[in-house]
Amino acid sequence: MNVTDTSITPTDLGGYASEEAESENFLSYPKGIMSWLVTLDHKRIGILYLICILTAFFIGGMFALLIRTELLTPGATIVDADTYNQLFTLHGAIMIFLFIIPGIPAALGNFALPLMLGAKDVAFPRLNLMSWYLWLIGAAFTVFSLVNGGADTGWTFYTPYSTQTDGAIISITMGVFILGFSSIFTGLNFLVTIHRLRPPGMTWFKMPLFLWGIYGTAIMQVLATPVIGITMLLLIVERTLGFGIFDPALGGDPVLFQHFFWFYSHPAVYIMILPALAIMSEIFSVFSRKHIFGYKFIAFSSIVLAILSFLVWGHHMFPSGQSELANFVFSALTFSVSIPTAIKMFNWLATMYKGEIVLKTPMLYALSFMFLFGIGGLTGLFLGSLAVDIHLHDTYFVVAHFHYVMFGGTVIAFLAGLHYWWPKVFGRMYNEKLGAIGAAIIFVGFNMTFLAQFVMGSQGMPRRYYNYIDEYTIYHHISTGGSFIMAIGFFLIAGYLLHSLLKGKRAPANPWGGNTLEWHIPSPPPYYNFKEAPTVGDPYDFSELEWDDRIEGYVFRKAEGSA
């Protein structure tokens, strides 16, 4: 608003003079490719992760386009049935294990978490680097299966199909096993960081809500992921040594495998979505210029979600021959997870109420998140209901539902977070107008792709179908069309973001007016994060912030308490 005389004092930049900030910025100091490959700096590891997971997203996305193109017509369109089966398997495995699970925590979280906490680094920087290398190895194993005969089990690896089929099941399961440990180490690192590296004054309830979300995620990463590890190991010995625990021909129980698998994979769904919800809490508050509404409810709902996520895995198995008692219990518990989610959504609405809403790109994604995740969450009610799930199970309704949650929720939130922290990470502003157009294209393309799938799913179109009856053709046409629109949107986003790296305007320290600690230091942050211990205040109190036209960013009105 009114430009005060407040100049950018050193305290505004975490104790850094601007030239100093420039020379010590983590992107350029230290120099050399090796300094990146052996870096222990959480910010650089975050960027390494970002590059990798975006590559994975690109590959997974290309598979998705191939799948949608194949489904344009019944029967063979571009590939044969076996290739199609490998495509959707790898699409699922890459998107889930290589992209979404590490996406927000390992890429954005690694960058933002210590900064938001006011710490110099994560607790175990070397372990952090190691989990990135584990990701690389795991990714290599996973993608290796593509050239080594392909895996065609679907990402769920159900036995006995997965023990009988030919193809590179061992390499992909080995990949998942290794990626699991990468995920465990990230979560473990964050838990210790949040517990032990909080600076003086950073009490639990002064922590930004993003950290609460990541904390809940880390709990699940540490407690659930080892189970997929042992499941994958058992699958490998089942294939190589004829172990027989899951093989009905040897007296084993294939339904037991499903219990093993979903004990991890349901919490994994929350490993994917919880950080997304956490980003939303930041963005709704900052872009409404208003204190987040109901801080404690949002914080606790993250932890409650993390715990509840362990109690509902059986809803993936309603028609599988699971006992009626288990179906009863799991269905009842499943509905309980919608409550903490609803709490968050209503609290965000209340945050917007009477705010001063600034419709920058991150906020546009947040608004589309409300729409898409709203649909994703509400369609979960259909699938939690026993009788209705019997009809909808393993149809495109399920496909559409989890894409609305995983894509409409997590990927949209990831894009929101990427746009939110982009100026902080790289010190460059992207083109705001193109940002808005990109968000709109994604929104339209996404709905076109997946709303059609709700309809055909309700009509009975089963998932993982290479061929289908004519009745569903029209919906597949719409869906495939939408997927191409989305692809255009993603290329646009990639274009202007890359452009901003080269030609973008210099970003101010605080372009959005956030009050969490990362906005108190220069963009990009200096190598050592905070020169002096940061002063911790209420992260959602924006009353001290003012717009400064000269730097096109926000400044803090008063010099802060610390010397």
Binding site: P160, Q164, H195, L223, V227, D247, P248, A249, G251, D253, V255, L256, H259, F263, F310, L311, G314, G321, Q322, S323, E324, L325, A326, V329
Partner: protein, 115 residues
């Protein structure tokens, strides 16, 4: 080099008598569990007895050998939580499979071809 109880001291020093005491208790409990399992027939209760003894042994190891009793409470909580989740996992899987798994081959189960 400070050996006292000043702030620089990290970790708790366990007296030797306690280490040996715990060790002998563990050995005695091992003997006890072998004896109860092989000599006393309590039917279905045997397994619970064995598990209780194992639980006591594990608690001794965790509390004294692993310093949990002097440690930050969070670390103990982590262990307790992990056991809770194991029990949850076992419990629910068991609840489900107990209902239908016995049917698997005690009736004329359908045959399955192998490859």
């Amino acid at each position: 080099m400070s050996h006292g109880h000043d702030s620089e001291q990290v970790g708790h020093i366990v007296p030797l008598w306690l280490l040996f005491g715990v060790f002998f208790a563990l050995i005695i409990l091992t003997a006890l569990t072998v004896w109860t399992a092989t000599q006393i027939d309590l039917g279905a209760f045997n397994i619970w007895l064995a598990l209780v003894i194992a639980g006591v042994k594990a608690t001794l190891v965790a509390l004294f050998f692993m310093h949990l009793i002097w440690d930050k409470p969070y670390n103990g909580l982590v262990l307790a939580f992990s056991f809770m989740f194991v029990i949850l996992f076992l419990g629910i899987s068991l609840m489900d499979t107990a209902e239908n798994m016995p049917d698997m081959y005690e009736g004329p189960a359908p045959a399955v071809a192998t490859e």
